[in-house]
Amino acid sequence: MTTIQTGRRIPDRLTSPLSRALKSWEALLLVVAVAIFVLNSVASPYFLDPWNLSDATFNFTEKAMIAFAMAMLIIAGDIDLSVGAIIALASTVMGVAMTLGAPTPVLVLLGLGTGLTCGAFNGLLVARLGLPAIVVTIGTMSLFRGISYIVLGDGAFTGYPSGFAWFGQGYVFWVITVEMVIFILAALGFGILLHRTNFGRMTYAIGNNATAARFSGIRVGRVRFILFLLTGLMSGVAAICLTSRLGSTRPSIAFGFELEVVTIVVLGGVAILGGSGSITGVVLAALVMGLVTFGLGLLNVPGIVMSIVVGALLIAVIALPRLWAMLRRG
């Protein structure tokens, strides 16, 4: 850097780390989250209640678990639209095993295994055969859920063992649910993986320029395959939680989850075309979504209005920084 000759004066560093942090996407989201929290507490007397807030976390924990893996996948320039369908298939596999008398640990292993298998299938088609991720996962979205429909038809699996209910209905301590703990562990795990390891750096590199990444010696195909595996695995974890929480399996389970997961990721500041984003942003986005839907729910705002609010929030949060920049320049 010091050897470059230039007529312009180049500052030592761009801006101070503090001011960069303050202007960051995550700071904006944090402000939004705090604002919504305050608004909710003022608007409804039922909001600031530990048990109610604990119940409210179920609105986002399962989706957020997948969103962490999805964030890395999108940062690498891919996407997986089959996550809702993976949940349906994993839940169905667990249901079949349950009717055959499998105990809880086996159910959990099967849920995770199904998620991994589906992820591997997506990963092989995308990373190995070089097919576009969006096309492949739109296909597997129908494929995986289709298998559930064939197995279940209009039936349902019910009567999961009582120990299995722990994942989606259990509490670790006071109001801290099992799902919340899994959510926090997943956030830490993916945060470290993305921001503190070589694998994370490779993910960014691939998303910014896959060709350059390959010439730099990164095994692009392998990284993308592993990212699909991780997304499948987290879908399996979410399938265990959701199945346990609902206490039953139907082929329509987790219908439409993929779009809500992608919404959380995009709201979290991950560039939809890849190359940038952070796990902190995704955590905050999940909290914002959870707070907004729960707060509006407490006020008995109709769901239709709620989805308008979520859509408007998404566009506003994405558009505001850009509008702000345009105003200042011009």
Binding site: W51, A56, G303
Partner: protein, 330 residues
Amino acid sequence: MSILKKALTTAAMASALLAGAAQAEDMRIAIVAKALGIGFFEAANKGAQEAAEELGDVEIIYTGPTDTTAEGQVEVINSLIAQRVDAIAVSANDTDALVPTLKKAMQRGITVISWDSGVAPEGRQMHLNPSSAPLIGNMIIKLAADNMPEGGQVAVLSATTTSTNQNVWIEEMNKVAGDYPDVEVVGTVYGDDLADKSYRETQGLLKTYPDLKAIIAPTSVGIVAAAQAVTDAGKIGEVNVTGLGLPSEMAGHVKSGASKSFAIWNPIDLGYSATMIAYHLAKGDASAEPGATIPMGRMGEVALDDNTEAAMADPFVYDASNVEEFADVF
């Protein structure tokens, strides 16, 4: 599990205390629809409001998810539990998936009943059927048979493969199909309660079975789409669309002749009765036990069977003679 139990007991006690404190205010009864924006549930809300006016000290909270998903209803019910409503009367999107959440509601002292589309017995205190499934099953095939004296082929256009209601009705219809020897039921297709998909499935039926004499659509979305598809195909007079529908949506098709007659119970009466039952159960002057009778205002009273279910009334037939009159109502 002991922590969970303790926590739940504490919560139940706390909510009981708070409920006691709030007793002086109006009783809040939540009417939960399968999804908002469906004429049938809007009409039920009208009935609920009528009951609330009659009772005087009741406030109705009419709510529901945007899509007909179990996950969406769980979120809505969680926010109702958080508001500590006195009673929840729900038309369920899924028989089993709502059970854990509704159990939690009952543990916290909330009266829970289901109406229209039922919840498994462990998840509610009683279920109010608008009519009885055998009567409906018989009615829909009778309506088709009455308008085709020479007999012929009949197809069924249902909602989703997992719709509790439609599946039971079609099952009951098949049981009595032997009483109508000239009617040949050739198949069932699923329009998922979406207008465009139901329309396309009907077009498919008309192509597959050129001699089709009638289409039975036991869903208010499907019957309108089917009547439109028959009209657009120029087959009015050849194919009679019948089933269950709303007078306001079907009046035009009855006038054009695409549908000669159809049936529905009165959703206003249903919302009214559900509210009355929820009121008496929450108040404690009626109990939900097998064999018990519960008063429901101007609708008389219902007796609970061994599954703590009750049937409100017989389905009502609408044709050219009365459809206009009811079209203004719902």
